[in-house]
Symmetry: C2
Subunit: 163 residues, 2 copies
């Protein structure tokens, strides 16, 4: 059995964060996009864990660190991060999560644990292919896919104690 994916095992999460930030800086540099302090801070907050964060959660976190922001501040930062593929929006949760494939051309599949909330993003070409074929069979021109899978992650399946 292959090693479990990062969200499902203990790991040095600081490395996740710094990797994500480094990627973001690189991507913005090559695209001449401005990763301003607010935008970077929002991205960093989103990456505090592998659980998706609501816009108002982010707002509250900014609040506790003295930056008294209003909703548009956060939504604008999120729009920017979405635009450059640095975060994804989870429609079924109205929440946002850091993209683990930033820069790569991909369509994300999100495995969302109902118990611990951790989200694993998969890049699944076979799934995308199947969806593209299904759309093509109806002569539908596909622009975008929202694919969110709810269930129980391997770690929570193991837990007898449903804390």
């Amino acid at each position: 059995m292959p090693e479990r994916a990062l969200p499902y095992r203990p790991h040095n999460h600081d490395a996740c964060v710094s990797h994500a930030l480094a990627d973001a800086r690189a991507i913005c540099r090559t695209q001449n996009a401005r990763l301003t302090p607010i935008r970077e801070r929002v991205l960093e907050l989103i990456w505090q864990s592998h659980k998706p964060l609501g816009a108002y959660d982010i707002l509250a976190m900014l609040g506790t660190e003295g930056h008294n922001a209003a909703p548009p501040t956060v939504y604008r930062a999120l729009d920017f991060l979405l635009q450059y593929g640095l975060v994804h929006r989870i429609a079924s949760l109205n929440a946002f999560i850091g993209c683990t494939h930033a820069g790569e051309q991909h369509r994300g599949t999100f495995l969302i644990c109902r118990q611990c909330s951790n989200v694993l993003e998969l890049a699944t070409p076979e799934v995308s292919k199947a969806i593209e074929q299904a759309a093509a069979a109806e002569s539908f021109r596909l622009d975008d896919i929202t694919l969110e899978v709810a269930g129980i992650c391997p770690r929570c399946q193991g837990d007898a104690s449903n804390a």
Copy 2:
């Protein structure tokens, strides 16, 4: 080339509606569920077209016909219809659409036209299979799939005039 799916061609939509209502009555009868007047009316309103309807759209429609309902009335009816698989929620639109496979065991794939808003629901076993395999590969226990495809439907592709 096979005939286009219903939402993409002129058709007798009254037949869609009466079919859906008949199915709903049958399903509720066999499940000992009460398809009360409000619930049936909400289902009928949702089926007025193949475009998804927001909860507050439904609320407004009920309002114009004299039934002055409050939000919980609509949401409760929708919860009931969702529970018995008579409608689906489109997470990416915060809207609801009648299920075209009510009673059948299925996981819906929704093709959503960005231009005309019409939605086609597909039952795509190959896609479901691929998703189930991807989840299984991560030892993730799959409970539910949200699969929504945004794009342009064949009819709108044909339109030169983007009305």
